[in-house]
Subunit: 205 residues, 2 copies
DNA sequence: GGGGCTTGGCTAATGCTATTAGCTATAGGC
DNA sequence: GCCTATAGCTAATAGCATTAGCCAAGCCCC
């Protein structure tokens, strides 16, 4: 039994590739082992079972996604940056559906965990998009959540083939970017008009 | 072996409840059978295996969600309708995470399938929200996709506990509704200015 | 009211999955 | 050139979905 020279990174990379090819759910230890020219139990010398494997794929995916985002944002700002970021995410999801799926079905990972850290870097990159709009600081968190929800939702629905109608998805995408861009622009111009949420503190000021 | 009086609907209902309690992934045939006071193989007399069960849960969830949406939209329009719809979805997802999860991990279902039909009804309800804004018809499809992506993304992220920051999620939610409402209002006022997508047809006109 | 067919429930068996235990031989440090 | 840590192996266990084949409960119709 010759040493194959495996290490955790190689196992995770192979698993990620396999996930993109056959779907995350179909990545069995046996199949992955075969891909690596090894028997299934040997994988446990490198990763700590399937849950751990999923977590590592998720970290890989978030890291790659963040790299792609940073590259796309290089030298852009404002609407350009927004469009670039918005395009990057669905592109990644379509190219690497298995990897991205791993980021969704995470089985918890403490606040200090590597998944959260990798996710935080992605959030930082998205924040960079917002920086160009010079929002009121009080609006920034909300806008960030808007972008996250929107990009995530759009990417997932597109990857799942959820848009049945025949109107071109790319066209919707451009429309959507324009919509958000205009919205953020006027938000920046009229900073933080405090919405009277559900009746609290109306009246004065 | 007394007849228990099961039928497909009862099995699906039990499975949906179980999914909400223990998570969709942990709904095993054995556990479901135990819940129903029956042995696992007996379930196959009512349901065609696990894939079929998932599909049926998805249809149930989409139907319930649509009912909730219609109820919430009764007598409302414009921003009121938007807010009501937007609130309904995350509420449903938080209350029925297992059921909603089933709608995401669907393993395809032909264009005529019941899942697609149920999804279409939800889309119709969302369309009703847009009706109040009197958008240019050319904008409607895009706006619909915006709402879907946004609501879906927000609901999933909230249910997954994806919003780490300490700023109140409810506050973000109100902010987000205001953002979309303002955006849709101005879109209605300046109908369908054709975006020059990616460089095509600029110049004249 | 009884005979027969439909059918919902059962047990037993198969095959796939992840995972653990314990062995062996290899590669690198000295 | 040995010694040790360890990458890989085989064998075994346990949980899962699913199929095959049996049996009795209940309903329809006479």
């Amino acid at each position: 039994m010759p040493r194959t020279g495996l290490d955790p990174a190689a196992v995770v990379a192979a698993a990620a590739g396999l996930a993109d090819e056959v779907g995350l759910a179909n990545v069995t230890m046996g199949l992955l082992a075969k891909r690596l020219g090894v028997r299934a139990p040997s994988l446990y010398k490198h990763v700590d079972g399937q849950a751990d494997l999923n977590r590592r794929i998720a970290v890989l995916a978030l890291t790659e996604l963040d790299d792609a985002l940073r590259a796309a944002l290089q030298g852009r700002s404002g609407r350009e940056a927004l469009a670039a970021a918005a395009r990057t995410i669905p592109t990644y999801v379509v190219e690497h559906p298995g990897r991205y799926a791993a980021t969704i079905r995470i089985d918890a990972d403490g606040p200090g965990g590597p998944i959260v850290a990798a996710g935080a870097r992605v959030l930082d990159s998205l924040s960079a998009v917002l920086a160009g709009y010079r929002l009121d600081p009080a609006d920034t968190v909300h806008a960030l959540r808007l972008l996250r929800s929107l990009f995530h939702g759009f990417a997932v629905l597109e990857a799942a083939g959820g848009f049945e109608l025949d109107t071109d998805v790319g066209e919707s995408f451009e429309w959507l970017i324009g919509f958000v861009d205009r919205g953020l622009t006027v938000t920046a111009a009229t900073p933080h008009r405090r919405e009277h949420h559900a009746g609290h503190e109306e009246g004065q000021r």
